[in-house]
């Protein structure tokens, strides 16, 4: 009799915790689903994503092809599943480089201030003076189309937001009493920057990573749609939307399913960003 009485508050606490972190759970759940899908793509995809079957072109969704087939007779479901691999990779790598570079440069600029800060901030102003997509397209055009060029362009352009976010935080924190205490205790600059200031400054950026992942994902899709990113016949959601575009009135399934996948993955990142913000106290 006593065991349930002891466990009850715990389970109630857990259910309340779950209730308060619904968006964290939903976001993590959807993201986990896509990651599993990407890992298990060879096992779950019913067909070869690039195999063309001339006899089943432009078939509407059916039992054999739940998401239908495209104009080359390729199975849309299999292409969506295989595309998960590429699009997750775009989201992660496309965010990781700007995040790391921007955070480091922002920390250094904010901490040292003076001429270092001025130089970094002017560089950022110059980058921001160009429309984002135009800058991305020019860099990719110079480097040649392909995913690698996309990642390099992202790293060159995307770091500015992170640098500004972190710099602003560092500027506030470097005058906090614990930073002054660290200086007065003879801690090295690197220790103060990376052990004391950065961990306290990074919460806002971590939240931004999530919303940025959404933007990068859409960018990647847009670049591929323009023919500068992933090259056909590789299965990628952006290309699939592009390829389906001529048939959108007659064969809607070619664009709808990859489009929905983009929406769901973006939604998962948004939910995670929101939940992270709550957990890290950014909204307070």
């Amino acid at each position: 009799m006593s065991a349930p009485a002891v466990r009850l508050p715990v389970s109630r606490g857990l259910s309340r915790w779950l209730g308060e972190h619904l968006s964290l759970l939903a976001g993590a759940g959807i993201l986990a689903f896509f990651i599993l899908l990407a890992l298990a793509a060879p096992l779950v995809a019913p067909y070869d994503p690039v195999a063309q079957m001339a006899d089943v072109r432009l078939q509407p969704p059916s039992l054999a092809h739940p998401f239908g087939t495209d104009n080359f007779g390729r199975d849309v479901l299999s292409r969506v599943i295989w595309g998960t691999r590429i699009d997750l990779q775009i989201a992660f790598i496309g965010v990781a480089f700007p995040f790391v570079i921007g955070t480091l440069l922002g920390t250094v600029a904010g901490f040292f201030g003076g001429i270092v800060d001025t130089v970094f901030m002017r560089v950022i102003d110059i980058i921001l003076a160009f429309p984002f997509l135009v800058l991305m397209l020019s860099i990719i055009a110079i480097l040649g189309p392909g995913l690698a060029s996309f990642y390099i362009a992202m790293a060159l352009v995307g770091w500015v937001s992170y640098a500004r976010l972190v710099r602003a935080q560092i500027l506030v924190l470097k005058n906090s009493d614990y930073a002054v205490a660290a200086v007065s205790l003879g801690f090295s600059r690197a220790r103060i920057m990376f052990r004391h200031l950065l961990p306290n400054a990074i919460a806002g950026s971590l939240v931004f990573v999530m919303s940025d992942a959404v933007l990068v994902l859409l960018n990647g899709a847009a670049i591929s749609y323009l023919g500068l990113g992933v090259q056909p016949p590789t299965a990628e959601w952006g290309i699939m939307v592009a390829e389906g575009q001529p048939f959108v009135t007659t064969a809607w399934w070619i664009t709808l399913f990859p489009g929905l996948s983009i929406v769901f993955l973006a939604f998962a990142f948004s939910l995670l960003g929101d939940a992270l913000g709550d957990l890290l106290g950014v909204h307070e």
Binding site: D177, V180, A181, G186, F187
Partner: protein, 555 residues
């Protein structure tokens, strides 16, 4: 005596967890017409919450008044409708707060903020409201009210802003004024002026006042009755003199005992007998100037302000020296300059024979190793992501202690500052202000410093905790032959702890000498004004508010 406001068995609960938590527990208190009631207690005792409950302004939806009544002239405010409360707030009960800066609209003219209430409650037209507001500004001591009506809050000092808040609160001639720690953010001299203003207004307007404070000295100087709160309960109430002379409750006795009153003259502390030939710290004609204005593209027109102007003094090993002065007098800048945290403009700081201006590298290394600082805001002075053990351990590690010895030394440090060893794994957020400050002191002691500079290190703490921290310093000083520079604006604390006092005013040291002597026979009018403005817990020692316009003569 008929009560104007009568609080009966008021209960406020917090509905967050599975069980409602009682924050105000059956509090009953009366306020008579023309009376000043002092509501005292530590932070978290529920004194502010009580007043907010009276106003119907509970700070969270999870809080609710679950019992009792608040009767104001036959109406029960607990049961009043939202619309009725709108006419009560401002018109019947006015409220002022601790920090006037954050409670005044920064982009609205001071006068308009006062006139707004008059227009809303009395339906006055623009011109009438302006006239009434100007009159109100004059009443709270603005020297040129019709011109100052059009000024913005940032153009005034903290004291004048608090006067403006009082004017706004009183603009519709409420019968009751609730003042929530109205002088805590102000210097003692300004505090004395504001308290005097409250007393005057009580006389001229027949106002009843509930004065929330943690300082029993203020209560002793201004209030008629005292109500003491602790943990949501009213532990004691009664006429001021009775409560102060014969407190019935243990907690009241402890509060009175912790009050750092200035002791009577005499009782000088024996000066350290042995003197070394060379001072540990020597400050010689130190100037610190800051650039204001001027930026990347504007080279011309660069202005400078002097925060410290030609300060000289010597500190011997084992000395305890208090530095007092109002905010803006340069105390903290001086401390930071001594520790090499702020660049010197000219002059010398010599620590143990090494000149900071001439051998900056060597001096800084020495200062970092052999001095430490304790800060005003104990929570903000600790890295929020580090546990106590990590905070202390890092200092030890950076100073080259082998990692095997670190846990033992951490325990030793915690013992020194009387914190249980179980605190090692806790983070600052789960500690109280006093506990955080003890960690801050432990961190300062970790380097075995020869000099500790404590910058207003008790200003943010409750009086009872203040006393504990000051006692801790006194104990450490006796045990470890610490050299201590103790910066404070609270003269009573400095008087009790320090043998010598430096009085700073506008960046200069205007007086320097043994505490007992300076407090008994201040040479400068400024020092005398500072001492006279400290509210004494003895109601018969009258507060001496310096006149607002006669700025004390600097040297």
């Amino acid at each position: 005596m008929t009560a104007l406001l009568s609080i009966r068995d008021l209960v406020v609960n917090f509905h967050g967890g599975p069980e409602p938590r009682t924050l105000i527990d059956r509090v009953s208190v009366d306020l008579a017409k023309g009376e000043i009631l002092g509501l005292v207690g530590e932070s978290g005792s529920g004194k502010s919450l009580l007043c907010r409950a009276v106003m119907g302004l509970l700070p969270s939806r999870r809080l609710s008044v679950d019992g009792g009544s608040v009767m104001l002239e036959g109406r029960d405010l607990v049961r009043a409708s939202t619309a009725d409360m709108l006419s009560v707030r401002g018109r019947e009960i006015g409220m002022i707060f601790q920090n006037p800066t954050s409670h005044l609209d920064p982009v609205m003219k001071i006068g308009d903020q006062i006139a707004e209430g008059i227009r809303f409650h009395e339906g006055a037209g623009g011109r009438e409201a302006r006239e009434a507001a100007v009159e109100m500004l004059a009443k709270v001591g603005f020297p040129d009210p019709s011109r100052q009506y059009d000024s913005y809050p940032h153009e005034f000092s903290g004291g004048m802003r608090q006067r403006a808040m009082i004017a706004a609160a009183l603009s519709c001639r409420p019968k009751i004024l609730i003042a929530d720690e109205p002088t805590t953010a102000l210097d003692v001299t300004i505090q004395a002026q504001i308290l005097e203003l409250l007393l005057d207004l009580r006389e001229s307007l027949g106002l009843s006042v509930i004065l929330i404070t943690h300082d029993l000295g203020i209560v002793a100087q201004t209030c008629d009755r005292i109500a003491v709160m602790r943990g949501g309960r009213l532990v004691e109430q009664g006429p001021k003199r009775e409560v102060l002379a014969a407190p019935r409750h243990d907690y009241t006795r402890m509060l009175i005992g912790s009050h750092p009153s200035l002791p009577a003259a005499g009782e000088a502390k024996p000066a350290a007998a042995h003197r070394q030939a060379r001072p540990l710290l020597e400050v010689d004609d130190l100037h610190v100037r800051f650039d204001v204005g001027g930026s990347f593209l504007r080279f011309g027109g660069r202005k400078q302000v002097s925060a410290v102007k030609g300060v000289s003094f010597q500190v011997m090993e084992g000395d305890t020296i208090g530095i007092v002065g109002e905010s803006g007098s340069g105390k903290s800048t001086l401390a930071r300059a001594i520790l090499g945290l702020t660049p010197l403009s000219s002059g010398h700081v010599t620590f143990d024979g090494v000149d900071l201006a001439q051998q900056p590298g060597r001096a800084l290394a020495k200062l970092r190793r052999e001095t430490a600082m304790v800060f005003q805001d104990p929570l903000n002075a600790l890295n929020p992501r580090f546990t106590v053990a990590e905070t202390l351990g890092e200092v030890l590690k950076v100073n080259g202690m082998p990692s095997a010895d670190i846990p033992g030394r951490i325990d030793e440090l915690l013992d020194l500052v009387h914190l249980g060893r179980e605190f090692a794994g806790r983070k600052p957020r789960s500690l109280s202000g006093g506990q955080c400050q003890r960690v801050g002191i432990a961190r300062a002691l970790a380097v075995n410093p020869r000099l500790i500079i404590a910058d207003e290190c008790v200003a943010a703490l409750d009086v009872t905790i203040q006393k504990q921290i000051v006692d801790l310093f006194a104990e450490l000083k006796a045990r470890m032959n610490l050299t201590l520079l103790f910066i404070a604006h609270d003269l009573a604390i400095v008087r009790n702890l320090c043998e010598r006092v430096l009085v700073m005013y506008h960046g200069e040291v205007v007086e320097d000498g043994p505490s007992a002597e300076i407090f008994a026979r201040p040479q400068r009018p400024y020092t005398a004004a500072l001492i006279g403005a400290v509210p004494d817990i003895d109601p018969d020692k009258k507060l001496l508010a310096p006149r607002s316009d006669t700025a004390p003569a600097a040297a």
